[in-house]
């Protein structure tokens, strides 16, 4: 079933929850959006394990953010004092939580989009009147990304094999090394792009404004139901936010 849901429906849902996530400021509302997103991503069998791994990294950032917000936003009650300096306030804590929720909502949105079959997603974008050259670019980007990651890893390995222990370098040198890692990958990507564009051009890409496709997407009754539900849900959330909390 999850594969059969039209990617455009998923796109609509993701647009709704991420805009709500950005628009809402009240913590309870953000929490509600987060749980709805989590529920739907679970139904769609999104890769929540990846999400979990990212959350672990996020938690450090979260602690830092809460402290920074507490130090610089001078409002709310002081919760923790350290040598006369307030490092934790209730306001800082709630802002930090709100920030964490927003990031999580965005991550969930990404996980939901990742459940789409790429070919179908791009077809969906084309049928939403996105010019097919853009759609084609996106699809190439998606295909090349893992390759680029692999090249990055190889270059990093090659640098280490020169006897350079990146962990033991000073910060300034480490930053230099990062530029060494990225330069060959960018240059390689550019030259690949050049070759690809030539070969695509030779096969008459963009010779006509429209391109037919063997795959066309059609909304099923279930899709219409999902779209309606998404709209109702979004409206309910907005109304609740405005008048009841």
């Amino acid at each position: 079933m999850t594969k059969k849901i039209d990617p455009r429906v998923k796109l609509l849902f993701v647009i709704c929850i991420s805009s709500l996530g950005l628009a809402f400021t009240k913590f309870s509302m953000l929490l509600a959006v987060f749980f709805i997103g989590l529920l739907i991503s679970h139904v769609l069998k999104a890769d929540l394990f990846m999400l979990l791994k990212r959350i672990k990294i996020m938690l450090y950032l979260f602690v830092v953010l809460v402290v920074i917000q507490s130090i610089f936003v001078r409002s709310g009650d002081s919760l923790v004092n350290l040598g006369g300096i307030t490092i934790l306030t209730s306001e800082g804590l709630s802002r930090g939580f709100a920030y964490l929720m927003r990031v999580l909502i965005i991550l969930i949105s990404g996980a939901i989009i990742a459940t789409c079959d790429m070919r179908r997603l791009i077809q969906g974008l084309i049928q939403m009147k996105l010019p097919y050259d853009f759609a084609f670019m996106t699809s190439i980007g998606v295909k090349f990304l893992p390759l680029l990651m692999e090249e990055l890893k190889d270059t990093l390995t090659a640098i280490q094999l020169r006897g350079i222990d990146i962990g033991k370098l000073q910060l300034k040198e480490r930053i230099e090394i990062i530029s060494y890692i990225f330069t060959p990958v960018f240059v390689g990507a550019l030259s690949k792009a050049k070759k690809l564009s030539l070969s695509v051009e030779c096969r008459g890409f963009r010779a006509f404004d429209n391109r037919t496709s063997i795959l066309t997407l059609k909304f099923s009754p279930f899709d219409y139901l999902a779209i309606t539900l998404t709209f109702i849900l979004t409206a309910t959330l907005i109304i609740t936010n405005q008048y009841f909390i």
């Binding site: 090249e151 190889d154 270059t155 390995t157 090659a158 640098i159 280490q160 094999l161 020169r162 006897g163 350079i164 222990d165 370098l169 040198e173 060494y180 890692i181 330069t183 060959p184 240059v187 390689g188 030259s191």
Partner: protein, 220 residues
């Protein structure tokens, strides 16, 4: 001859496909060994496992009597120079000079010594006229020489060269031959290649891989 690399009951798989099966061998310092075998027989994988780039499933590898599990990539890199099958993978600086001086610079070598040592390598590899050239515009053969030169500046005790003759014209191949001959008294070499003539010309020992297993290991 002293034992330099020892491999015991090595198994390795990539993406759940078994690529190396029960490899046992020892490679001695200052010995010239070649690994031959058809495409996909696991030669590159074997080289990468020895260098610690790929982790094995089971089995042990010792370099200089130290288990590679206890060595970091930089530590292995200081002992073994590894030439990637595709030299693009290991050239990351933007000019030839920068590429060669790269490792020395981070080891806090003084400018005079860097100048001198890089100069030597530029001479040996006939790269002097390309000293300030962009590495991206080099030909395949020039990249190959640059990559080997950069490795040698690390003073490795052992070299693993993955198909170094691909893309070289006969003249360049000859020069590589000469270079290897000049190195053989100083370092051990593991040459991965299916260039029969080249292998026969240089090797003390030829190891044949077939479908991930050792098929043959004999003196040349």
């Amino acid at each position: 001859m002293n034992e330099f690399i020892r491999i015991e009951r090595l198994f390795c798989s990539l993406n759940k496909v078994q690529v190396l099966r029960n490899i046992n061998m020892t490679l001695n310092s200052k010995e010239f060994v070649s690994i031959i075998g058809p495409n996909g027989s696991g030669k590159t994988t074997l080289g990468k496992v020895i260098t610690g780039i790929i982790k094995q499933d089971s089995g042990e590898i010792f370099i200089d009597n130290k288990n590679i599990k206890d060595l970091s990539l930089p530590e292995i890199g200081r002992k073994i120079g590894y030439l990637f099958q595709n030299p693009d993978r290991q050239i990351f600086a933007s000019t030839v000079y920068e590429e060669l001086s790269f490792a020395l610079k981070y080891k806090k070598t003084s400018i005079d010594i860097i100048e001198k040592r890089v100069g030597e390598i530029l001479d040996i590899f006939e790269l002097n006229h390309l000293r300030d050239a962009s590495t991206y515009s080099l030909s395949q053969g020039e990249k190959q020489r640059l990559a080997i030169g950069a490795i040698l500046l690390n003073d490795p005790e052992y070299l693993i060269l993955d198909e170094p003759t691909t893309g070289l014209d006969p003249k360049r191949k000859n020069e590589l031959s000469k270079l290897l001959n000049s190195l053989i008294n100083h370092v051990g070499i593991l040459l991965i290649s299916h260039d029969k003539a080249f292998v026969l010309k240089h090797s003390d020992r030829i190891i044949e891989l077939y479908d991930g297993s050792l098929k043959n290991d004999k003196k040349n």
